[in-house]
Each structure stands twice: as C-alpha cells, then as structure tokens.
Amino acid sequence: MAARGTFALVERAMRVDTRLARTHLIRLGFALLILLFVVQVQQGMANYSAPGRDVFRSMCWVNFFLLNLAGVSFFSTVITEEKEELTLGLLRMAGISPVGILLGKVTPRLLGVVLLLSVQLPFTILAITLGGVSIDQIFAAYVALLAFAVLMAGLGAFLSTVCARSSLAASLTTATLAAVFIMPYLLRDAGREMYRARDIDVVTRETIYEAAEIIERTTPLGSLDVILTTGFNDSPLSFQVIVDLSCGAILFLLAWMLFDVSTRNESQSTPARGMMALFTKRVASQSRVWNHAIVWKDFNFLTGGVTAVVIKLLAYAILMGAMSVMISNRVRTEVADNVGATLMASMLTALIVEIPIYLSRLFREELRWETWSCLTLLPKTMTRVALGKLAGVAPAFLPAIIVFTVGAFIAPKFFENYLFKRIFIREDGWYWMLQYILAVHVIVMLSLVVKWGAVPFGISVVVVPNVIFMATAGRNASIVTLATIAVCTFLMTLFFQWMIIRQLKTLAAT
C-alpha cells in the first residue's frame, strides 16, 4: 500500500511537471545558456588553451549555483507545502506511510534535477571535441553534482519536515549552506589570528587548517576544482561524493524518524502578526489606522512596524560598531575611511538582499491569504494600491540607509571618489544597477505566479546571463553595446511593470 501510494505521488508529480510549459521552458533556457558558453568560447578560440574544459567548467559552476538555488527553494518546501495546504493529513489517511510520503515528494524533485542535468549531455560531448577535458572528468563532475543534489534533497526533506512553514525551512537551508561555505574561511582566519596572538600552537593551527580543508572538500566548491585539473585520473567516488551521499541519506532518515512527531498536529497556518503581537492588548485597541491605510497595513504587518525597524537599526548599529572597533584595532592609517567604507559596503549588500525579499512578499502575502480581491475593490486604481504597498515596506530599508549615510559622513571621499565616480560611473555600476532593477521586477512578477522560489529564480534568470556576458564578451564591450543593453533592460523593466499590473488585475478576479 505504501509503495503504491509513493508511486502514485511520484507519477502524479511527474505528469503535472510534464504538462507544464514552464518545465520545458526552463530546460530550453538551460540548453540555450550552455549554447551561449559554447559560442563565446568558439568566438575567442585563440584565447583559450583548453576551450572544452573552459566550457565545461562554466557549465559545472552554473549547475552548482542552480543546485544551491534548488536547495533553498525547490527541496526545502517539499513537506511544508503540504503542511501549509493542510493536505498532509489526507495523504496519511490514504494509508501512505511517512517514508512513502517523503519518497513520493522528494523523488520527483530529484528526478527533475537529474533531467535538467541530462539536458546538458550532448553539449558535454561538444566540450570533449573542443579539447581540454576527458570523459572521466565529465563523469566525475556529474557524479559530484548529483551527490550534492542528493545532499540538497536530504537537507530539504529534513528541514521541511521539522519546520512548520516554507519560509522558515528555506531560511534555515540558506543559513546551513552559508555556514558550510563560509566556515572554512572563518576557521582559517581564526586559526591564523589565534596563532599570531600566540593563543594556540602550530599543531593546533594546522589541525584547524585541516578541518577547514575537510569542510571545503565536502561540497563541489572544493571538489570541482580538483576534478577539472589537467590530468585528473581519480575515482569518481571522491570524498565529497561519499560525504554528500551519506549526509543526504542520514538527513532523510532523520526526516523519516521525526516525521510523526513533527507533523502530528496539523493546524491551519495563519498570517503572522509579527511584532504587532507585542501590542495586541496594550496598544492596538487604542492606536488608530493612518489615513493612508494601505501604508499603515504593510508597514505594521509586512515589515513589523516601528518595533522591527528600531530592532533592526540597533542590530545593524551594534554589528557595524563591533566591525568598526575591529577595523580601528587592525588598521593604522585612514581609519575613518576604512570604517566608513565598511559601513557603506555592508549596508549596500544588506539593501541588495533586503529589497527583493520584501518586494517578493508584497503581493504574495495578499494572494496567499486571499485578501487581494478585497483590496482591489477599494475605490483606488491598481497603481495607487501598489504604490501604497511600496510606501508601506519602504521604512524597512531605513536602518540600512541610515547606517549607510553615517558611513558616507565618516568617509565622504570614499563615497564620492570610489563608490560613485569609480564603481558607479567608470566600472559599470550603473549597468548593474539597471540589471538589479530588472531582477527585482522579475522577482515581483514571479512572486505572483509561483508559490516559492521567486527570489532565487528571479536572480538566476537575470544575474547568470549577465555574469556570463561580463565574464566573456562584456569585458571588452564598447560603451555603445553597454548602452544598447541598458536601454533594452529599461524597456524590459517597463514591460515587466505592465505585466505585474496585468497579472494583479487577473488575480483579483480569480
């Protein structure tokens, strides 16, 4: 019965996937991307010593990047989406066991990834023809990537089993991946600093370095470089493959063991009140809605209100304060410039990350809780409603803007000469800003049509082709070429704006 249920789930998922045009478009997009690599390399054949290997290396890194995105969005929602739709109980009542549900949900997604990788096979043969890469290397690289996909699937199954909501599972997956990728650098830094301060001896330092290396070798981040070295002749069953497969299996088993405990009490998910929860009894009954009601609603319920803004500002201030102290201890000259530069760079990064996250939730939350139609029935145009919502989330960016401004005051020369004149004007910062605005529009549009993964998918759609372009032809592109692309980007942004409004109108009536 359990096996039949599992097969039924897998079959249904595969059928649905096959019928969706989206699935085939993604595969087509992927194939076109790889074709772009080949064309780029073919055009500059004279500059490459091993063109086939360079094509294949680009393919591998794109795969690795997309596998990480899949881990954050595709795999981390595997069980939480059933929890949120209250359908997990129905699956259990149908007699499907926990392992059956887990297998039935994870397998189709894993197969989807395998199919996406298999699209590339004809091109890998081209890479061999171009020269510089052997069939053994290709085989080992795909084994490494597939093992990483199994790890992502296991991690997704585990976190989506123990977490109540997709957003939490996705956040924890991101945090886990970030920790694994950053850990080796942090360990090396810590080992070096502690050795310098004579807190540890050379043996301990070397042990820390070894630990960092082992962690690095557990992901394709470390193993792909080894595989793509000329003369690679090792077994495809590398340390990374064994560790990833084992960890994937262990995480899957843990998900199985914890499944009953974590999914026993099915409760309807409800919109979060966030920081407003603190004031339900004390303040909310007395405080009144602002005249700009939509701004009030989104400020309080989407961003968390004044409390969340103040907490975020304090957190940024404390973090940046600590970093400033560290910098002033290390640097002897131009302390103010260094501190100011750090504040500005950090806050710019924070803003780049925060903006798409908030904007992807702007309409998604209304659609999720079926409140969008009521909002659109207000005697306001769609544009005014959308602008009101934007104004509501804007204060969430204030903490980062305030700290950035402080940084600009501390290091005005850095702001003017480096950040504005050099990065923005001379080094194509303006180009990337336009691409970023387009990416944000794509993300908002995707948030209206997909249930999860709008942010990573939107970023990958815009950023990956741009990175490839800049890394190859874009390096030597004339200002005319860049300006033409910028105009196209601007037009595409306008197009996406129109699409967003159109989609919002359609969704209001459904």
Partner: protein
C-alpha cells in the same frame, strides 16, 4: 446607523445587465445575460454550481470587465466608471478574505480609512456597524480566533463601513450554524429596511424565499427567470393546482377524486395528509374541484391555491447535471 422605517422600493433599477457574455478561454461562462435588480430590494440570485453566479457578481462589483454587453450600477458603467461604482458598492466574497492577523477593530478601521473616511467619522461609523452586526464585544479580539459565524459577521461589517448603497453577498450563509443563519437574515432585513439594495447569492432556498422581494435564477450561463418572488412561486406549470386539506387521511378516496371530471392529478404532499389537486380549467373550475371532493366523501378542512416552493421552481427551471 440605526434602522429607519422601511422605505418603499424605488422603480429605478440599481443594477442593469444587457447582453453580457463572458468566457474563460473556450469556456462560455455567461451567454447573453439580461436582467435588472430593482433599487432598495433584496434580490436573490440562485443557480446550480458552475451556473455563472460568481462571474455575474464579479462583473457587477468591477472585479471583472465585461467582454461584451453592458453592466451598470446606479446608471454608472462598471467598465469606465469603476471607481465611482466601487464607492457605492460592498462585496462580500464566498471565501473568507480577511486579514486574520488583525483585531476586529483594526480590520474595520483599516477599511474605513482605506475608503477615505476621516478619523473623527470613523469612530462613529465603526461603533454603528459593530452594533448592527452585534460584534461590539469582540472588537479587540483577533479575527483569527473567531468562529466562522463571527468571521462572517466581521466580513459583513467590513462591507458596511463605507455605507454602500448596494451590497453583493456571495454565499453569506454557507457554513453557518442555524442560529448564525437566522441572525444573519435578521441583519439583512434590517439593512433592507435602511434602503440598501442587497443581492444575495445562496443555495439555501427556503431562506431566500422568505427573505427576498425578487429573484434571478441562472443556469448554464443563461437567465432562466428574473422577476418577483411572488410571481415565481405563484407561477403554475401546465394546470392550476390547489392544495386540499382533508380532516383525515384519504386512503381510497384519493383514487376516487382522481376519477372526477376535469381532475388531472392528485398528489400527496409529503409529510402531511394534504393532497395537491391539478385540474383542467377547460373542464372544471376550483369550485367544481371542491364540490367533487365533497361528493366523493372527503371532509375538507382547507382548500387554497397551491404555491410552488422555491425548491420546486428551481428544479423546474434548471437542468439536471453539471456543465
């Protein structure tokens, strides 16, 4: 918002639909819809699942734009004058479309502010709608923690905050317990007496029959009936039918009555000793039927023209099966 004296229904239609068609891709949801809803009336809107009720309501409330034809609310075209139509209209959808993380008061205050009511007016309006819907005691409660019936009341209170002239209620009584349903109907009667035009889509026909002044029956995207409730229920099929109440069960006398001149059929009324007698008016009149009943030995205690129940009218006018 204290209920004033009932006002007579106005002759000017509140809603007019002319030649409206609407398709979702290849599926024709509405085929040439024409009907009027009288102003200040309580209008029932009934039809089987998938008949096109919600599509019509969405067209009236401006969520959908008519593909062909014209929809007017108080003389305003919903396609071009949608902002003005939205100001005069309140729509309560069939699903619980609510900011459930808000308290009742926050929720109503939010919509009042969104409709542009100034702060000083809002307090009075919210107190009134909370009183009307009997939700005053729950104003600081989170909507999420309220029962379905209570949430339905909050939904009704929400559509009242901008004091609309017309209310569109899509299945407002679905999922409510009997008490909540009866209380909801009382609120609707009170609103009708305040001069509001109310269009109510529901499957609970017995309550609609009691509540509504007029009714529209829609099936497979076409209007099957639009008129007063009285005319619909009074409308006879082929032959006039009277309800006869005997002093005791008829037993064999039923067949004897059926054999009398001009009597077409004698049917038992389920759950009572009464019978429905249909006759051919060409051969006999109602007096003749009564005389024939007494002639066969029936002691008659009641004899009146039989009205159809809305259920029966609905079954007669709609087709079996789904689209």
């Amino acid at each position: 918002m204290t209920p004033p004296e009932p006002q007579p229904a106005s002759n000017e239609p509140a809603v007019v639909l002319r030649g409206v068609q609407h398709s979702f891709r290849k599926f024709k949801a509405l085929v040439d819809i024409n009907f009027d809803v009288p102003s200040q009336s309580l209008h029932g809107f009934v039809g089987p699942n998938g008949a096109g009720k919600t599509t019509v309501l969405k067209l009236i409330c401006t969520l959908l734009k008519p593909q062909t034809g014209k929809v007017e609310v108080f003389g305003r075209d919903v396609a071009t004058d949608y902002l003005e139509v939205r100001r005069r209209l309140g729509f309560m959808p069939d699903h619980f479309s609510m900011y459930r993380q808000m308290t009742v008061y926050e929720y109503l205050d939010f919509f009042a502010a969104a409709y542009g009511l100034p702060l000083e007016t809002r307090t009075k309006v919210l107190d009134d709608v909370l009183e009307l819907t009997d939700m005053g005691g729950k104003r600081t409660e989170l909507i999420n923690g309220l029962s379905r019936g209570m949430q339905q009341r909050v939904g009704l209170a929400r559509v009242l905050v901008n004091d609309p002239d017309i209310l569109l209620l899509d299945e407002p009584a679905s999922g409510l317990d009997p008490r909540a349903r009866i209380e909801l109907m009382d609120v609707l009667r009170a609103l009708r007496s305040m001069g509001k035009t109310i269009i109510i889509s529901s499957h609970i026909l017995s309550e609609l029959a009691e509540l509504c002044d007029s009714v529209t029956i829609i099936d497979r995207g076409t209007i099957r009936y639009c008129g007063t409730m009285h005319e619909l229920l009074d409308h006879q099929a082929e032959y006039p039918t009277y309800r006869l109440t005997p002093a005791e069960p008829l037993n064999g006398l039923r067949d004897k009555l059926g054999e009398a001149t001009g009597i077409v059929s004698v049917e038992e009324v389920e759950g009572s000793v009464d019978v429905r007698v249909a006759f051919d008016p060409q051969q006999v009149d109602s007096n003749g039927v009564l005389r024939a009943a007494m002639d066969v030995g029936i002691t008659v205690t009641g004899f009146a023209r039989a009205q159809r129940h809305l259920n029966q009218a609905f079954m007669d006018l709609t087709e079996k099966g789904v689209r």
